[in-house]
Symmetry: D2
Subunit: 452 residues, 4 copies
């Protein structure tokens, strides 16, 4: 007798799509059974004609909580995540007050956010110049990875020099932990920005030019060189360009333990969108030329980029004001946690013809393995958490502001149209969202530790 | 209500090992359920403390039937396969009378062998210089791949020149079919043999030297070059040396659709065994230096060599006589279909510490994908055939002649000791062998077509 | 007091062009002096406004003498060479009666040709399946390299299998000698030809398709693999395509001692010329697509292809008859020994803008180093033979049949126009040709041994 | 009638060694003539049994003049250079007061040093964050390259960030100029130094560990990435390790215009010398493990490292005091301008068996080509400056303090023994040093501009 059975759907794993019923008991996948089989369950969900995906895992979310709650908070952010198909999010340690850099802060953050989460969540640990001594402590508490910036980011978070990154990687290696990096050589950005500002007037092309691919490439190579030298585990956040992906691929084939992520926006938008629409499409690294998009899809498909994260990085509308802050001062970041899965399906499967398995790999298996939670999360397999997304491949959609569960209902994705929508999200067997509406319970979301 | 449940085992997939019960209905895996779950089934097998592997698939077997039945036949060969854990074998088209080169011969062979098979079987189609016109016909009938030799093999089978291979690959490409090659440059072998024979007396070192790695390397490179040029699918049979595997790996990373196989004997024996024991250890390519064995395991583990076949190539004892035939004339071929799985477990998992998943990948998933039968065969997944091997990791063994189900109870593996033995083999849910004894029914084995 | 001084010219070396006088004494370059310097010499040649090149060396000439003198002979062939700027030719051992395969034949050939040569000459030794025992003897007599075919060539010359090539390379390695190969996989050619002939009617595209780049690529890779395995010296004759050059380049960078040559016709003509003009442009490997020409120039310029030879391969007009012999039967070979240097200058320097040093590298230094005669031949350096070509960069030309010194005044180059012509050729300080006219003395040409 | 003839020597060029007389007129090589030739000259030098090398060019010298003359000055520095065989030195713009960063400073420096030079000299231009606007001006005045530091160096010289280096390379590219970099990632050094200082007590191993190969590797890769992206010319100063050389080699083969230099001390000394002897052997990058030395020689020999400079970086003895300044504070730099050539000959030719041509390539041709003065400097060729070094290959030596012409007679090389010594140095035909003694005239040395 199961708690729940999801019937008649097409189950998607990392390498195939097949008809099966998925049975849930006590929040876990308790059985996968052939369609015809008679199954006794308290509750039945009919997934007729729909795909049954493993729950998506957002490798890169900024929920800004605690500290910057006018931008986002756990209840809004995880609600949006759940509606969009993310059953677990990996929350960033910055844009937090204070940044998550030691065990005490960890405990406080956990206590603060746990009453508010609709879906499960992991924590990226902070990795800054003053917390090399607490990395083991944070790892012990369950941080799944450690986030660092090469070059300045924002006043609340200290970046590492390459030299500091070297010591950090040595320490993390001893814990078996992975470090993730925002890879842009800041000296190039800073200088290009300075060069641009010598001009009388700046436009969005200047912003784009101030963060060239070479800056991303150099920073990525540096991190890879360190990882190779030290035999350490690293993760390259939000890769934006195929040239960078190629460097990562070569390192992977060379045996370096480097995982990498891209984001929904790099797979759907181009620099032309920035030129046309301005600050809503501003992010870092910036959107690239249209041809790069196709290249990025290939690197997702061949597994080089094993994670697609949202880099959900919200703000108030006023912070996006070009008038108030200028091109270089306007907030950089795109809100995408609610729409990533549908965009990846629509752009990747419906439009470009990739197999739906691409989602199971890059949204579930890939992040689960990179962040050490595979086994509990990351696939539709017996014994795994019953984190499941039913997606209707024929449902057409257009993203509207009102549909967004964010604190701030703004996003570069507003206005985008496509086909294929998550229509039911389950976390540990409980329905959290249905048909674009939140139905879950605040506080139901649980903290997920890295599996040791 | 299932037909059968296998309880308490540790299920092994390509990427993990987990506790689950496997339920079978109508010959298929109908459910995979959590250990504690109450399951109703007609029959229960307790796999307590044992591994539950997907049935192994022998990518390379010579059953010699019809035509050379003093060496082997379907009843003996498939009995041995079943006892050893191979639930499907892919039978070679040569050492058949006639060689399997057209649709009529296909029908005759199928009719001839089908009453005698204990486990399921696929056919390699023949690929010789006179049947380029019947390749489509054989593909339509379900041949999973097409076997060719670069350079002479035996009087019953015609080899292809590189030029002919080129046309063959063009034809096979149009059918989406894969060609497999015995890769040794015959001109080198022929000439080295001639050089050796200029000596007064030959010993086993001369035989080994007559088939150097460079011969295998060159032939492999040539096939890969053709495959790359034509965008065709190829399979490299019985890779014997890491240098060759490296060339294949580079091609795979370069996007060439080349799969590759090694054999149990290349993973367990070295040239010293040939020197010491003579013709029983003679095979082609020959056994290599001891250091090569470790390299080969690495290439199995990293997936370059995605198949481990037996290259079961039996003969009468008299055909192995060095006295009667000389070093170069004695039969080359090792009988291994009954012992491959236990040897791979013992040498790979017990002795070298690889994860048991290495067997699920190289004995099941790899061959099933290479030969186009994945989905029906190749994994413990709902909807797949219930081909399952229960393996006791603690069972110690020593291989004896009497234990062998072959027509000829001789093998290089006789005398080998190890730990970890298949104790129950199921084909489509039926127990075919238990504790080293055949319990299946002759004729139960079915022909398996390539999935289109 | 010098015998001769060449004044006012622009001396070209492998890496620069500079004004200097070149002084000759006793057939050698006795001094290189600044333009203004007062030099006493019996004779003065004014090279005002012209380039002074080191004498060109033809790495690949078939003079057919003795044996096939209706096609060419030493007096005609070396006369043409001298008029065209080749001061040394390396003559092939085949299309000789008998082929140059042992010391006795060597002595006979030398005696036979020495009274007739206008320029200096080296011998390629034969390398066939029956003369592995005489390679050391031929090397001792001074053969600069040994020529072999992978795959059949013509009735008078036996090709080697890869296996035989392996033994040959082992022997040649012990002598420090280099083997040169005609690299086309004959099995591909043979089979493609057979496929073409299945058609009702053949045209020149069929011929071109019958010798695809993949055939050249595979044969080249095989030779390189052997050379790498054995640490032997090899030379790839008449490379026709950049893809093949790239494979050679990678091997060179990997440390394999492989030198390579292309020919004038691959740098000037394309497959379209064959289609348009038929058998006069037939050669093997065949002319390639126009885009390949540009690629070939780059590989000459970067030194991968360090030799440009003529592959002068003449015949009677009747042997070129498509009517009499058909497309596949008509003689393959292009007569080019008289025009190679002017074509390389015109196409490379005048038309494509390469520095004149490209000629000093690929026509002099490159072949001299590859064939072991550098130090005596190959550069304008004190102590070297005074082999010099004065070339007028402004002289326009059109090649006419009457201008050709060949036994058979036919050539693919007839009708070609260009600019830049050798106007004076000196061998060991003696003027051999002037303004397109032979002025040398028959028998003056000397045999040049490999320097040990 | 020549001014001078150097007879009976063995002339060394980049690719061969041959007997010839070298004739000089008006400071230039006016003729190279065969040994026996009768030559009329005012003066004759007999080089019997000795090598006649092209004058060495020091790609990297810090003469500290004007500004730091207690360390070195032009008269002492160029005297030592001449005695040691350097006929041209390329002087660094830092450790100058002021650093050479604009045209006015250039003029002042030139006026200041020109009365004091014994040998010819070029200027490295400064490349700092405040002089991007004067790079063209410096290039026009004849600077042969521009020197920059990635990461802090000393208070008198500002380093560039990678971002600034990017703009600098764009500007230099438009001038066709080359930028040279001290490549060590300073953030690693700074942090490793800080880590070391956390210890109670530091020893020389701490210093060595504070500047690991990875720091050099990363900085080098970054510069190469910029050069590749921008198609700019760069030079990597003082490469210390084969791993770094390999990265450079790959870039060169990939078509990046990157030249590179190593120094005499990296070819003769190891980290053990630092451990044993302390601060006299302190330099940056530091001396590496003994095995690295052999690797470095191979990269010199294969041309990857086309320059061997001295990085002559002198100081007062007190500045080397470990007691006064500590391990990290003691002056880093080795005085080597007087001994580089003899050390390279002794260690490379006499001890390791490289051909003497290795000196002609790495001490003359290589730097002349990298710094754009080839044609005037860099080889024994007609029309080149008569910069010549006669070296006695049998002369044994031991370096003593008294023999050094430096302002400060201290050096890591003191005490080293070897064989093969420059016995006569000529600059533009004038003898500057003989038998280890200065005989030239102060002020004779001329400034050499880059050839445009
Ligand atoms: Zn970021
Ligand atoms: Zn972010
Ligand atoms: Zn075989
Ligand atoms: Zn076989
Ligand atoms: Zn040829
Ligand atoms: Zn030829
Ligand atoms: Zn430096
Ligand atoms: Zn320096």
């Amino acid at each position: 007798m199961f708690d729940l059975v999801i019937k008649n759907g097409k189950v998607v794993t990392a390498d195939r799509v097949f008809a099966a019923s998925v049975c849930v008991k006590a929040g876990k996948i308790a059985a996968i059974v052939e369609p015809g089989t008679d199954v006794q369950a308290d509750k039945t969900i009919d997934a007729q004609d729909n795909y049954v995906f493993p729950g998506a895992i957002d490798s890169h979310a900024h929920l800004n909580d605690p500290g910057y709650n006018w931008r986002e908070d756990y209840s809004h952010g995880t609600a949006a995540a759940g509606v969009g198909g993310f059953t677990t999010i990996v929350d960033m340690p910055l844009q937090n007050e204070p940044a998550l850099t030691d065990g005490q802060i960890f405990d406080n953050k956990l206590a603060h956010v746990s009453p508010n989460a609709y879906v499960d969540y992991c924590f990226w640990g902070g990795l800054v110049d003053y917390n090399l001594g607490t990395l083991h402590e944070l790892d012990d508490k369950g941080c799944v990875a450690f986030k660092s910036f090469i070059g300045p980011v924002s006043p609340d978070y200290v970046s590492l020099s390459i030299g500091q990154a070297k010591e950090a990687l040595e320490i993390l290696k001893s814990a078996g932990a992975r470090a993730g990096f925002h890879c842009e050589d800041y000296s190039i950005i800073k200088w290009e920005e300075a060069r641009a500002k010598r001009k009388e007037k700046n436009d969005w092309r200047d912003f784009l030019d101030s963060r060239p691919v070479i800056a991303e490439l150099i920073a990525t190579q540096n991190i890879i060189s360190l990882a190779k030298e030290l035999d350490a585990k690293v993760h390259i956040c939000h890769v934006s360009h195929p040239q960078v992906a190629q460097v990562i691929r070569e390192a992977q084939l060379d045996g370096v333990d480097v995982t990498a992520e891209t984001c929904g926006h790099y797979l759907a938008f181009s620099d032309e969108d920035v030129i046309k629409n301005g600050s809503l499409f501003k992010c870092a690294p910036p959107l690239r030329e249209a041809a790069a998009i196709e290249g990025m899809w290939e690197y997702v498909n061949n597994g080089t980029l094993s994670c697609i994260g949202s880099d959900h990085s919200p703000c108030e509308l006023s912070e996006k004001s070009e008038e108030a802050h200028g091109i270089f001062g306007a907030w950089g970041g795109i809100s995408g946690i609610q729409n990533t899965m549908q965009v990846v399906f629509s752009e990747g499967v419906a439009k470009r013809g990739y197999c739906p398995t691409i989602l199971a790999r890059s949204l579930s298996e890939g992040p689960a393995k990179a962040f050490g939670i595979y086994g509990k999360k990351g696939a539709i397999e017996v014994g795994f958490d019953a984190d499941i997304v039913i997606l209707d491949p024929k449902r057409e959609w257009e993203i509207t502001p009102e549909s967004l569960y964010y604190v701030n209902q703004i996003s570069a994705f507003v206005g985008l149209k496509g086909v294929g929508l998550p229509v039911c999200t389950l976390v540990r067997g409980q329905v959290v969202a249905e048909d674009g509406k939140l139905v879950g319970r605040k506080g139901f979301g649980e903290f997920v530790k890295k599996i040791k």
